[in-house]
Amino acid sequence: MTDAPVRPAPRPDAHRGPATLSEVAASYPDSPRRRRRLGPSLRRVARHVALIAFGLIMLYPLLWMLASSFKPTDLIFREPGLIPTELDLGNYTDGWNALLHPFGHYLMNSALVVLGCVLGNLVSCSMAAYAFARLKFRGRGIWFAVMLMSIMLPIHVIIVPQYILFSSLEWINTFLPLIVPKLLATDAFFVFLMVQFFRGIPKELDEAARLDGCGHGRIFLQIMLPLSLPALATTAIFTFIWTWNDFFSQLIFLTRPDMYTVPLALRTFVDATSNSSWGPLFAMSIVSLIPVFLVFLFGQKYLVKGIATTGIK
């Protein structure tokens, strides 16, 4: 993680693209000089225009949903433009109260699940990672391999027995089936992510601490964790986004409307929606995306680092 390939220190040769090439080209006697002056800047502008246009096309559906959420439903289907002719908050109040409970109830449920999962992952994954990165014990290599393999195991393969297990514990329609697995470090690749990070922390630090009489508990709490804030942040952010977006396991473990989380509420909403109430549905969809968007805005640095080191979505 510390040797993350994302944003290395600015290299002296950072402009190896057109600049270097044209320099090289210019050193040849017959190089076209005019292109050297005009080419790169024109091309650069063209490239920016193309990139912005492409970005707009990509984000257009999102922006359109945002704009539509402020339009009366009958207008949504008549004008594909982005600027609403009137700013109508009616969809939001209608959508908020369209289901059995006000939408805030579902937001609260989702927030509780997310909070539990984030805390669970932070504690359990960092503990396991410390053992794999720093402790010597028998069979470490094998257990590490087992941990890596469990990353690739699809949840669908184990969901049926999990359901049976949790229903025999009478945990269906509680948040426990969603949170307890995180407390037990089943999101293995956060373990992997933190192992990678811990390995980058100089061993001299914990050796010095051990010489001063620190046990592993204190080394973990007072040296490793404070130095691992970036890895912890990455874990927290990804856990937040995935849990917030998660639909499959919530669909299976939560069946009572008062326990519904945001994705389940939206699903009920879309099932009950005829073409006449797309407006309120869009409004609540936007509401459901806001937390993810905020996390994206403020956590970008860690997101990019996290994906680049572990390849997660």
Binding site: V6, L135, R138, H156, I158, V160, L183, N275, V292
Partner: protein, 307 residues
């Protein structure tokens, strides 16, 4: 100072050799190990056992041998689910990776505003798996949706894409390609690792852009391509949310979006045929494991490690 460090190192190594960290490891690994056994390994084996039983949650599992598997292999909807999933995976993942690589190449030209573009292109990856985006997709490709509004502007009359059996799966492929941002970020990180001197040497030798791409960028990037491919394939096989929402949970129209996981869900939690669902689950595991193994074996022939 150096001496003290050496002594410290020798002492700590000596201590490790004497005691090891077995006890501490047991404490630190306890939650993970409990999770591995209770939440992962036990259910994994249980689902293997259940796949040989008839089980509906109400009565005890009843051993039926390979009946679930024979039923599965003579079930046309099972084949339909396989077909839909394979089509989706093997069309949308290569397209998604191609888009990711192309954009990463364009962005890696040392141009200004890289962070901005990267964010814009990455955002869909974060949102793409959510119910809200699936709802949006259902509308965008609906009969009077955004796509058709744009087509109408050009005088073309579109279909109700999501409700047309020939096109519904295509709309979901588009959605997957739309989330190319995550592999793109990984490609970008990989491109940054390629030493600039390779390109300088090549251009002095007269290699054009295409040859530089063919002979420098692509070979050096193959480990990243491989990494992305394995991850995206595994992920794509597990697609559920989008198909569920767009088709209203049915996999329709006419089973054209009946993804494997959707059918598994329907069997296990719709009609409570837990045995059948477990057989499907294990078959999925075999497919993913087999495909990953083939990937790793094939990688010897095309992935180039530069060390």
């Amino acid at each position: 100072m150096a001496v003290i460090q050496e002594v410290a190192r020798a002492r700590s190594i000596g201590r490790e050799r004497r005691k090891g960290d077995g006890k501490a490891a047991a404490v630190f690994l306890a939650p993970w190990f409990a999770g591995l056994v209770l939440i992962t390994a036990f259910p994994l084996l249980a689902s293997l056992y259940l796949s040989f039983t008839d089980y509906s949650l109400l009565a005890a599992p009843n051993w039926v041998g390979v009946e679930n598997y024979t039923a599965m292999f003579s079930d046309p909807r099972f084949y339909q689910a396989l077909k839909v999933t394979f089509l989706y995976v093997f069309i949308s993942v290569p397209l998604q990776l191609a888009a990711a690589l192309a954009l990463a190449m364009v962005l890696d030209k040392g141009l200004r505003g890289l962070a901005f573009y990267r964010s814009v292109y990455y955002l869909p990856s974060l949102l793409g798996g959510s119910v809200a985006i699936a709802i949006l997709w259902r509308q965008v490709f609906g009969a009077d949706g955004l796509v058709n509004q744009v087509l109408a502007f050009f005088g073309v009359e579109g279909y109700g894409w999501v409700s047309h059996p020939d096109y519904a799966l295509g709309t979901l492929m588009v959605l997957n390609v739309w989330t190319f941002g995550a592999p793109m970020v990984i490609f970008l990180a990989g491109l940054r690792q390629i030493p600039a001197m390779y390109y300088e040497a090549a251009s002095i030798d007269g290699a054009g852009r295409w040859r530089q791409f063919r002979n420098i960028t692509l070979p050096l990037l193959t480990p990243i391509v491989f990494f992305n491919l394995v991850l995206q394939l595994i992920g794509a096989f597990q697609t559920f949310t989008q198909a569920f929402i767009v088709s209203g949970g049915t996999g329709g129209p006419v089973d054209s979006t009946l993804f494997y996981t959707l059918y598994l869900y329907e069997k296990g939690f719709g009609s409570y045929q837990m045995g059948y669902a477990s057989a499907m689950a294990w078959f999925l595991l075999l497919i993913i494991a087999g495909m990953t193994a083939v990937n790793f074996l094939a990688s010897k022939f095309w992935v180039f490690y530069d060390d």
